[in-house]
Symmetry: C2
Subunit: 316 residues, 2 copies
């Protein structure tokens, strides 16, 4: 059997491929690793494919009946989707539909793990967002992901795929450079000062957010490929577990874990576009169903910061 990962050259995609290779399902022969740039993954079981998921022919070329699980992570992020509405729709909506159609054409009804987002929720929200609340996205990114969730549910109901949509929290701490996500700073205010770089926190310190570490998100996505979907019933979308923290909590943790000098490298400098986006996103979600299905969560903010430091040490 084969597994397909889209967005495999991305930070999360590459981690997921490595996690799947380290603990492969029985009979795994290959991981098809698709992205717009060639994934740098040296394992001989990895089959890199370069193309855009917005091209239906490329999507079709990725899925054959031997593909038993698809992890669909390829996406235009929130900043990019807000800047270029058409590209966001083409990749996040049409790309997902094209991939679902490719699965349907394969007649294999593969597991389809979809990387959704907490940004499907927005506007006036209750303090803890239940899983069955109406999706009222306030960004084009969230709207496209909400539409894609409905597609995953309907293609599952039809038996074309066996879908699980995972609403991923804001991932902290991402390595590398800032990306086009409006929440990019949530990683930046930890990552940059640890690298000796001055940076700005674009939101008030009391801005609350729902975060998860890369390790936990990676393990949860892999887990979504293994759960018994009969337990989901017709509700194919899951609030993944997270941790509610404020920007201030993150900076306090940076202080505790890395010292006053690191903390001193972060100044407060509001960016109204980011403030607007963060205000619209939920700061706490009810993830009890996911926890009951064996999904995991981070324990505390300090261990999230420490996880990043440890990963960087290993990489260096």
């Amino acid at each position: 059997m084969k597994i397909l990962v889209t967005g495999a050259a991305g930070f999360l995609g590459a981690r997921l491929v490595n996690a799947l290779l380290a603990d492969p399902p029985a009979g795994l022969t290959a991981i098809v690793a698709a992205d717009t740039a060639a994934p740098r993954l040296s394992d001989p079981r990895v089959q890199p494919r370069v193309g855009t998921i917005a091209d239906p022919a490329f999507a079709r070329s990725l899925v054959d009946p031997d593909v038993r699980a698809v992890y669909h992570l390829a996406a235009v992020l929130s900043g990019g989707s807000e800047d270029d509405f058409d590209m966001g729709m083409a990749v996040n909506v049409d790309g997902t539909r094209g991939l679902l159609e490719a699965c349907r054409a394969s007649r294999g009804s593969p597991r389809f793990v979809f990387a959704s987002t907490i940004a499907v929720f927005g506007g006036g929200l209750p303090p803890i967002v239940p899983e069955d609340l109406a999706l009222t996205p306030q960004t084009s990114y969230g709207a496209a992901k909400a539409i894609a969730e409905l597609l995953v549910a309907e293609y599952s109901r039809r038996g074309f795929v066996d879908g699980v949509a995972c609403r991923i929290p804001t991932i902290t701490v991402r390595p590398g450079k800032p990306n086009s996500a409006l929440s990019s700073f949530v990683s930046g205010i930890i990552r940059e000062p640890l690298a000796g770089i001055e940076t700005a926190c674009p939101v008030p310190l009391d801005t609350a957010m729902w975060i998860s570490s890369p390790d936990v998100v990676t393990r949860n996505l892999a887990h979504a490929g293994r759960i018994d979907t009969a337990a989901l019933g017709t509700r194919r979308s899951l609030n993944l577990p997270g941790l509610t923290v404020t920007a201030g909590n993150l900076l306090d943790s940076l202080h505790r874990v890395a010292g006053a000098e690191a903390r001193g490298r972060v100044r407060i400098e509001h960016d109204e576009r980011v403030v607007w986006a963060m205000r619209g996103w939920p700061a706490a979600l009810d993830a009890s169903r996911a926890l009951g299905l064996g999904f995991i969560r981070d324990t505390d903010v300090d261990s999230i910061v420490q996880q990043y430091i440890d990963t960087q040490r290993t990489a260096g």
Copy 2:
């Protein structure tokens, strides 16, 4: 200014065109009446257009900057969408998106009244479905309409249109022949016996449903074109008011209004596909927001049956 009505040759579309002509907005010069068959509307202000909304070029040809309001009623109904998944998606999802794109290209940000459905809800539902419950459609028709609602909301947020999605109850009593809606019988068990025709009720007598008369739905759709959308905030979808009745209530009303002979023409003969569909649809919705915005409701089931009899007399 012009108004566009899609699905204008349909039962509801034709009624809506007539209602708009009878009480036109200031400055109305024409109603563009689009459908796959030519609408039979003799008023000189009606401009008939024949084509399918699934064709983006046809959609573009319908909207110019002078079109200030669009009533989008064209759709493949629930039975047809269940039978032909691709056609349902092409018309109900892509057709709606194409029309929204046409509005965007016109740069006029017209009012966009979308005929949605209570079938966006489904599965395990609370006794009274609140407006902010997650959309969990259990039919392809409901799924496509749910996706279209998200499109209407996002295109409104972007300022491309000024959208209002109306979740229409099951319309009773429709004249004419049975259609491809799984709820077609809800009209048939009144209409056929009144015409002296024997018919079957395909669900148990205690099956509850959320209904509205043609007059009330027509007036509510017209009203959706006139409300101040600032009052909607970011929540562009409305549960239209309805009446909860059982199949038994409808047949008792037939007895009261038309006599024992008419009632005697309806036998009970279960159709599992219809039983399944009706079980998945909500039997009562919270329509308080719509009522607060001036939408109206039917008072009782007998007046709904009487309305049909009166309309038939007028037509005859």
